[in-house]
């Protein structure tokens, strides 16, 4: 087995996503003395992103720059990555369990005839075994999995594996590789931005989620204010999405997104089992609900029984005060 692990870097709006650095840390957990080779694809100069990956623990970078890699397509990225994989012959490949990771890694697994562990939240060693922990049944249970043959291929869930400390004294080789990317049959004609600017739900450290109790689209405004203040994202229960208070892309639960932020504030959410599956592994859960019997209080670390329209604005003000430097 070679001592080389590849980490596939992923960027949004020209900036590497945090999960890329988490993937580097994950590779270190797989084999602490492995050479970590970062791969970045795009249509522009990728030197700076390469340098950033090195600061966070990568040893060497391969970039593939091509006009056909402007936006992600499984065909374009597939060709670029297979060229690099064939040349580097790594022992393993890691990337984030993001929209791109979910779309791309099964293709690589098929090409490599390999297993694939999706959505890992932890990596450990037990004697000689490399063990991945991943949620099943949307977090109602967990499984520990091993790869029994072939290359190590895994995606990691954002927000679970701590990144390595940034070290700007680190340096490494950044090499650009020419790959001919041909015959793209699936063309992206346009991208319509709907997601709120800034923080993505699956990567957010703080999530303010609203349920039916929020009562209307307008009712979500105070939630957005609080989320903005904390650099977080807004989510919703299925009830709120079904009632058209917000877009389905915000839905958290067994259908919808499964999230594990540091702080989850559930506002006007009763806590159906399907919703709890999507968020109950958050580190700290706050519930605000006028019904003291609401199920959400069973998983909450802190609960306020009260009218959310009264509580949320006050909470925002109080947090504002708390965040101001004390004189």
């Amino acid at each position: 087995m070679s001592d080389k692990l590849l980490v596939i870097g992923e960027s949004r709006d020209g900036e590497l996503r945090n999960v890329t650095f988490e993937a580097i840390a994950a590779a270190k957990k797989i084999k602490s003395d492995a050479e970590i080779v970062g791969i970045i694809c795009g249509n522009q100069n990728l030197q700076n992103q390469g340098q950033e990956m090195i600061y966070y623990g990568a040893d060497r970078i391969v970039t593939v720059q091509h006009d056909n890699l402007k936006t992600y397509t499984s065909e374009g990225y597939g060709q670029a990555l297979m060229a690099v994989i064939n040349e580097e012959n790594p022992a393993g490949i890691v990337m984030g369990h993001t929209a791109i990771g979910k779309d791309l890694t099964p293709k690589l697994a098929s090409k490599l005839e390999s297993g694939l562990i999706s959505d890992a939240v932890d990596i450990e060693h037990n004697n000689d075994e490399l063990i991945f922990t991943r949620p099943i049944y949307s977090g109602k249970a967990f499984e520990k999995k091993v790869i029994t043959s072939g290359i190590i291929l895994a995606t990691i869930r954002p927000n679970n594996i701590p990144i390595l400390e940034k070290d700007e004294t680190r340096s490494g080789d950044i090499q650009s590789k020419d790959v001919d990317i041909t015959e793209i049959r699936t063309i992206i004609k346009d991208v319509v931005r709907k997601a709120s600017e800034g923080v993505d739900l699956s990567e957010a450290n703080v999530i303010i989620a609203g349920g039916r109790g929020v009562k209307s689209e307008d009712g979500f405004k105070p939630l957005y204010e609080l989320a903005d203040l904390l650099g977080g994202a807004v989510g919703a229960s299925r009830g709120a999405c079904d009632a058209e208070y917000c877009d389905y892309s915000l839905q958290i639960g067994q259908t919808g997104k499964v999230v594990t932020p540091d702080l989850y504030i559930a506002v006007g959410i009763s806590g159906a089992i399907q919703h709890l599956a999507g968020m109950s592994n958050s580190k700290i859960i706050v519930a605000i609900n006028k019904d003291p019997e609401a199920n959400i209080f069973n998983v909450a670390d802190y609960g306020i029984v009260g009218d959310l329209f009264e509580v949320v604005p006050q909470l925002t003000d109080e947090i504002k005060k708390a965040l101001q430097p004390t004189s």
């Binding site: 297993g115 999706s118 949307s138 029994t148 877009d247 389905y248 670390d301 609960g303």
Partner: protein
Amino acid sequence: MNIYVLLKKTFDTEEKIIINDGQIEDDSAEFIINPYDEYAVEEAINQRDEHGGEVTVVTIGDEDSDKQLRTALAMGADKAVLIDTEDDLEDGDQYTTTKILEAFFQDREVDLILAGNVAIDEASGQVGPRLAECLGINYVTTITDLKIDGDTANIDKDVEGDVEKIETSLPLLVTCQQGLNEPRYPSLPGIMKAKKKPMEDLEIDDLDLEEEDVEPKTKTVEIFLPAEKEAGKILEGEVEDQVKELVSLLKNEAKVL
């Protein structure tokens, strides 16, 4: 059009998970069609109604999987195929599933394959794109709209909340995301008709596969439940005081501010 739907049965979303002897207890569980696969069945029916052809629903499972197949037939699918692996395979993973489906599709004419974007049990989302790659056909995951015109497909794809407008060509595999459609409930006449619709039973022998051809590449070594959360703290007093206390707890005890 030859339209296929990949379907999996999953635990009802209401079910609690109980672990017995290291395995998830499924004797008393209610099973449903994986909710994302319901979007696939609905979309397949709509596409057939618009363009003609036939919808075949395929599942890999055990003898009880016919229940979910009958539901899909009652919704309006034309044919069902059950690949029963219960007697032949002890373990399997997404590699196994893909190899079986690849063998199944080997001699079939396919225009469109639809699947859910994930199953809500194992939630790996691998089988769709893995299969497309094996069959050498295009694929688009997490779609929220599909328009087919001749050999061209125009698709809306959900990318973490943004929408990509995609053009691609048939044959094609898509995986379905919430928002694509509203799956119908089977009607009573639909349920009656479903009883007479053809259901084919296959085993891996029938697909010219040996056990070693589909040997998994990964293995589950342990299943466990998340640690029970300790009862939380319900704050008391006037709203103003509760809010103050909460902020103080978040800052000093939980250290998340």
